[in-house]
């Protein structure tokens, strides 16, 4: 595939990059692409397609097996580490969480570059704070340089990470050296709609003096905000689109990514909730001051109830309360006729049939464990012998293989350690263990962050099947579409109170999808 890019125009170009992990996993196969000045280049593809690997090669986390790198038309060696990449103007915001919560914003911004602010072996914090404030101002990041990272909303944290990436380029390559090339690996995953818009308006401003590689699984935002897009599949470059030359329909991009037609799962979903089963869970006037007030609802067998609302509406707190991570102050929570204590932790909830999927892979997964163990951890009783409480390793492996197959997890084997999986496949392992467990009530807190468009349909299908078999669900998500696909009822929450309860059709009308 030829790229029609004039040499002088391209800022960074890779040619024929290949990468294999451990001699078995072919992560990248002969990839060539480029970034020009002042543009946002989208990189899309399925989970495990090789996006993150390619980007990590650009910043020197991994060496490529083969390939060439051109910077401003000049052939250069691949960087050996992120610091060297920064000298050449390339910096990355990683997919997995890279924020250190207990650092102050200015400390985090200059982390690893403190040597530039040392005088007589004393750190000049005043100077750092001043510079940090100036940078934040220049890049339109609205936050205090002396705030702690954990105090900031997620979108601002992301912005600070991006600012840090730009800053590291400037510090390492000399103040007004090259145009920085910033790699954003799924920056919008954990953000909600509002935060996303904010991030993009800032990115478009920053574009005036930087170029971006932008990875995302959210097709509409890729179409709207990137200038060009490269599609990877199975480590190969399968398509390139230039949005300035042609208009690309959402379906075309979907097909290019997944390699098949959309199953249109989203639109042909049948009308649900015809006959409701028995009540599985009842909340009565649940209240936690400052978070939510008087939350009352019934959850029936085989029903999915969505809790929808803007950021800060209390929806996450409500689902976390039901999961047993937060406690409530007033009201009741009744499961199968039994009152649950407000402070009962997750293992007590699980005993009464409530499973909680937090959607935060970093929290849920045991990274140094193989997939098998990550799946069996909540399914122990299924794999213990009948007479002796001894683990049946054969049953354990079969169980994991079933899930890997069902959710199409891309991995060489079920014994692969989870840290080496791609971001989306990690997420699939996390959700897979609950699919296997089949709790009576499954709480889903943003279940599809970082999961590619095709796989998302697979997961919706699996969840719908579970629902049909009588499992109840409560959903919280940042994606309104998800509610309309999965939910029978959607509770609209604002300022911690239920404002309205909508059916899926009404909901679609209200949010306009």
């Amino acid at each position: 595939m030829r790229m029609g890019i004039a040499m002088d125009d391209s800022l960074l170009e890779v040619k024929g990059v290949s990468k294999t992990f451990g001699g078995v996993v072919r992560a990248l196969d002969d990839i060539s692409l480029a970034a020009r000045r002042n543009e946002i280049v989208g990189v899309v593809g399925e989970n495990g397609a090789g996006k993150s690997t390619l980007m990590k090669i650009l910043v020197g986390v991994y060496p490529p097996d083969k390939g060439e790198l051109y910077h401003k038309g000049e052939k250069v060696p691949f960087p050996k580490d992120p610091k060297e990449a920064a000298k050449r103007g390339i910096s990355i915001v990683y997919q997995e969480k890279g924020v250190i919560p207990w650092l102050k914003v200015y400390q985090f911004l200059f982390l690893g570059h403190e040597d530039k602010y040392v005088k007589f072996s004393i750190l000049q914090t005043d100077k750092m704070k001043k510079h940090a404030a100036a940078i934040l101002e220049e890049l339109h990041v609205k936050c205090d340089a002396e705030a702690f990272m954990y105090e900031l909303p997620l979108s601002t944290q992301k912005m600070v990470e991006i600012a840090r990436a730009i800053l590291s380029v400037r510090l390492e390559s000399g103040e007004d050296g090259t145009t920085p090339i910033i790699i954003l690996d799924e920056p919008t995953g954990p953000l909600n709609d509002e935060e996303r818009r904010e991030l993009f308006s800032d990115l478009l401003k920053m574009k005036k003096n930087a170029s971006f590689f932008f990875i995302s699984h959210i097709i509409p935002e890729v179409r709207e905000f990137t200038d060009r897009v490269h599609v990877l599949r199975d480590g190969k470059l399968v398509a390139n689109y230039d949005f300035s030359e042609e208009k690309i329909a959402e379906e075309d991009l979907f097909r290019a990514i997944v390699g098949r037609e959309s199953s249109e799962y989203i639109s042909k979903q049948e009308v649900k909730g015809v006959d409701r089963g028995a009540v599985g869970l009842t909340a009565k006037n649940m209240t936690k001051k400052g978070h939510y007030y008087d939350i009352s609802f019934d959850l029936h067998k085989g029903e999915c109830v969505g809790i929808f609302g803007p950021a800060g509406s209390g929806k996450s707190q409500i689902i976390r309360t039901i999961a047993g991570i937060m406690s409530f102050e007033r009201g009741e929570l009744i499961v199968k006729g039994h009152k649950l204590k407000a402070s009962a932790p997750p293992h007590v909830r699980l005993r009464s049939g409530i499973g909680y999927f937090s959607g935060e892979t970093g929290k849920e997964l045991f990274f140094n464990w193989p997939i098998v163990k990550n799946i069996s951890i909540v399914n122990m009783q299924k794999i213990l012998g009948k007479f002796m409480p001894v683990i049946n390793f054969n049953a354990e492996r079969k169980m994991a293989q079933r899930i890997v197959h069902r959710l199409r997890i891309r991995t060489p084997s079920v014994n692969t350690d989870c840290y080496s999986l791609s971001g989306g496949n990690k997420q699939k392992v996390s959700v897979g263990k609950w699919v296997e467990r089949k709790p009576d009530i499954l709480l889903l807190d943003d279940p599809t962050i970082g999961i590619d468009v095709g796989a998302r349909e697979d997961i919706y299908e699996v969840l719908s099947e579970m629902k049909k078999s009588g499992i109840s669900m409560i959903l919280v998500s940042d994606d309104p579409k998800e509610y309309s696909i999965l939910c029978d009822r959607i509770m609209f929450v604002m300022d911690g109170r239920i404002q309205n309860v909508l059916g899926p059709d009404e909901f679609r009308k209200v949010v306009g999808i």
Partner: protein, 322 residues
């Protein structure tokens, strides 16, 4: 998918084992080295017997704590249980007769349970907690014994020779080792303990009663230390020790860490501790036979601990926030 042509000379099983248990390489290395350096003294039956004796001591002390280390905590109470237990046996002997040896077992379980409860509920770092307890037990031991080692007779049967050149304590330790490895590898308890050490919040989200299993870990540790100390009581002389020796405390820790169980938990465990104990014993016997001054040996042991802590800390993969 392409498979790289691997080394056909060495069977994959062996490669995998060596990858998982790199300490085996160290074991072979020190063994070969000292066999070449001191062929007649190192490769003697007497030396093998001594190695086995020391191995048993280390293993029985380290088995319990290595269960706790898997959860990411630390349990230093083992020496305390052994010391105080010995004195209690001496005190109870006139009343309970031979049954008094079981006091050590009770003390072990009770101590472990107590530490577990305090640690889980009060959230005190286990290192400080168990260290203070160790010092307390030591003081109590010296006080009860009146400051002198007390000899207790009647338990010689525990170490009565059965097979020539094989210390009987070694035979006792085999089922104990098997039980510990079995619990950690083949049961739900073991899996949950690894889970807690690997990612405590993840374990909690997966519906594991973290506090309960932490208490269980310490109780198991106390149980294994209790059983081990019953044997060690006789194995180490049949008298009540009143001096706390640093080596008794440090060597089992070296065995645990050298075996490849990182102190932050999540991997390793009893099966590695055995290898660590064996490697350390062989190493120690080797340098012991060498003309090195005892102080230099002490220095070497310290360095070994530092190196193995550093190496085993890297065992925790997946921390790839590069």
């Amino acid at each position: 998918m392409k498979r790289s042509s691997g080394n056909r000379l060495i069977p994959p099983v062996i490669i995998r084992t060596l990858k998982n248990q790199p300490v085996i390489i160290a074991l072979i290395a020190v063994f070969v080295m000292f066999s070449i350096l001191y062929p007649d003294r190192f490769l003697s039956l007497l030396n093998f017997k001594t190695i086995l004796r020391q191995f048993v001591t280390l293993t029985l002390f380290a088995m319990g704590p290595s269960i706790v280390v898997v959860t990411g905590s630390l349990d230093l109470s083992y020496v305390g249980i052994w010391m105080l237990g010995g004195v209690l046996v001496w005190l109870c002997m006139p009343v309970l007769g031979l049954f008094s040896i079981l006091v050590i077992l009770l003390l072990g379980v009770a101590t472990g349970f107590l530490i577990g409860v305090i640690q889980a509920k009060a959230k005190i770092p286990s290192f400080i907690l168990t260290l203070s307890l160790l010092v307390t037990y030591w003081g109590l031991t010296a006080k009860l014994a009146g400051g002198y080692p007390r000899i207790v007779r009647g338990f010689e049967f525990i170490t009565a020779p059965l097979i020539p050149y094989i210390p009987t304590a070694f035979l006792w330790s085999i089922p104990i080792i098997f039980a510990a490895v079995f619990i950690m590898k083949y049961t739900r308890i073991g899996t949950y303990l690894y889970a807690i050490g690997s990612n405590e919040e993840g374990a909690r989200l997966a519906g594991i009663n973290v506090d309960k299993y932490k208490i269980l870990a310490f109780t198991l540790s106390g149980l294994f230390t209790g059983i081990g100390s019953m044997i060690l009581f006789q194995h180490l002389g049949g008298s009540t020790p009143v001096e706390l020796k640093l080596n008794t405390l440090v060597w089992p820790l070296v065995a645990i860490v050298l075996g490849g169980t990182p102190l932050m938990g999540g991997s390793g465990g009893p099966q590695r501790t055995i290898l660590g104990a064996l490697t350390f014993t062989v190493f120690y016997r080797g340098v012991y036979l060498s003309p090195l001054h005892p102080y230099s040996i002490q220095l070497l042991v310290g360095l070994l601990l530092i190196v193995s802590i550093t190496v085993s800390a890297r065992g925790l993969k997946g921390v790839t926030i590069t």
